[in-house]
Amino acid sequence: MSRLATTASRRSLGLVLALVLGFGSSVALARTLDRGAPALRVALDDAAPYVSPQIARRLTAGFGGLVADWYWLTTLQYVGRKLEEQTQAETAAGRTVAELDRIKAVNPRVLVRLIELITTLDPRFTAVYEFAAIVLPAVDGAAAVALVERGIESNPDQWYLHQQLAFIYWQRGDYLAAADAFRRGARMTTATWMEHMAERMESRGDDPKVAQAMYARMYEQAQDHQVKQWALNRLMEVRSLRERQVIREVLAGLVSATGQCPRSWSEAAAALRAAGLTVDTQGPPIDPSGTPYVLVVTRRGCDVTLHRASTVPRG
């Protein structure tokens, strides 16, 4: 091999080594940086976007939709992270998983700013108002109302946004305002259920049947599968609360008839069936998630509770 060829192959070998060394150390360094990232992320986690929505709209020119999509993904990640944190904390404390409408760890300043940014850049992005109507009231009810009102203003053809508004008011116990929101929505659609909901809101806003109807409609109208799942969970919760009420009445009837609590579900199975509950062949009534209820017998009396494995939200 000539001297020239040897020099060339040595140079190539050196370059390959430099490439491997450079790439290898960059991977190792990235891992080290990632280890330090959580602390940094915690600091940045609750930092609201510093660009005002109006300026962002000017800067993005005709590409507001794409930037809104970016902030939408950021919002989902932010809420998802907070939901996970809260779920971990509640599971450790022996409680049920956190739900979308009960995330207290969300920083309202960050979430409101993000949602304002998205809806200013793309006012027709209706899924965002739907999401805000569910997540935001737990931390800032007034901001949630203002956002959905703005959504209604920007989307006068989207009648179901009135339902989102009614939901926020209903959750706050302001049944008259909820009824008003339903009425405003009813004027925009031929569907009569909104008018019926308005009437029921006015007469018995706190009725569990109203809650059931509300969540059923939210489930039907939801664009996002996460919101659909949340509405389904809430429906299970409402149904389970009603079932537990019936079970307690059955147990009270048995205690007054026999003078003592039933020792097992099998002793109450016939009465539970007669009350219209779904009862397992072994005797226990079944909750909406398909898990048997647990009979709690103490010196003070008997009660019913959810099984640990049940996925019915515990409120």
Binding site: R58, A61, F63, G64, L66, W72, R124, A127, F131
Partner: protein, 282 residues
């Protein structure tokens, strides 16, 4: 010496006759065809591979991450990418149209033939417009297929999508004119920066008019309004955000936008031809 030319172009006395000079239209078409071929040879259309890759990856991952908003995001993303890819091609290839011919000295060979400078510019412009049209049709088809694959495409959305692509194309023809104008009288680096500047400012010209209303004095107000009219309002052609919600431009809007683009194209090409006619190639 007399030469008798037959209809077959062969001299009766055996001396080869001069070929009949093709018409101006045919000369322009020949240059346009060559420009398109050159763009294909230069692998300009390779950007389509990157576009399809981006869309496919986007379609796969956005479904899971966007909370059922994948169709909206894909339309936003796909149309924005279509515009940006197209704009980069229009500007980068556009500024090189004249310069490359000068650099390779093929320009002298072209002008040695009976080709006018205006014909040369028009041919180059049309060639790049055809390249961009092919590019946009493939990108639009890719976007349509991705939406079909996630079962998010309706006839109404397809109509909105293609109307938006058509408006993007109109913007690109204006941008090509801008790039050609700058390259007709300046260096490629200057032409590149100036064209990019027009692309950016062109999307903000509506703000110039809004800014003018803030001034009480007539002079700055008139200056800003003049600047607003002196630059093409490219935001006219960008209706991507409403398109992602299935809201498309009306037929009236499309016709007006077409007329606006044609007006700018004519003005830019005329200015480019004027500048190019005075350019000294020595």
């Amino acid at each position: 010496m007399h030469t008798l030319t037959t209809t077959h172009g062969v001299a009766a006395a055996g001396i080869p006759a001069a070929r009949p000079v093709p018409s101006s239209r045919r000369r322009i078409v020949a240059i346009a065809r060559n420009t398109f071929r050159e763009a294909v040879r230069d692998r300009v259309l390779y950007n389509l591979v990157l576009f399809v890759l981006l869309l496919s990856v986007g379609a796969v991952f956005l479904g899971a991450a966007s909370a059922s908003q994948d169709a909206k995001i894909i339309v936003d993303f796909g149309l924005t990418a279509t515009l940006l890819f197209g704009a980069l091609i229009a500007i980068f290839v556009g500024v090189g149209l004249v310069w490359k011919e000068m650099e390779r000295r093929t320009l002298y060979a072209i002008f040695a033939k009976p080709v006018g400078r205006t014909e040369f510019l028009l041919g180059k412009y049309l060639g790049l417009c055809v390249t961009l049209a092919v590019n946009l049709v493939v990108m639009g088809a890719g976007l349509t297929l991705v939406l079909l694959s996630i079962r998010a495409l309706s006839t109404a959305l397809a109509l909105v999508l293609w109307s938006t692509v058509a408006l993007i194309y109109l913007e690109l023809t204006v941008l090509t004119g801008v790039a050609l104008l700058f390259s007709a009288f300046s260096s490629p680096v200057f032409a590149l920066f100036a064209s990019l500047a027009v692309f950016l400012i062109g999307h903000f010209t509506a703000d110039l008019k809004a800014l003018a209303t803030l001034f009480d004095a007539a002079a700055p107000r008139a200056a800003l309004v003049a600047l607003h009219h002196a630059l093409p309002n490219l935001s006219t052609f960008v209706v991507i955000t409403p398109a992602a919600h299935g809201v498309g431009p009306s037929a009236d809007y499309m016709v007006t936008a077409l007329a606006y683009a044609v007006a700018w194209d004519v003005a830019l090409l005329a200015a480019a031809a004027l500048a190019f006619a005075r350019r000294d190639f020595k």
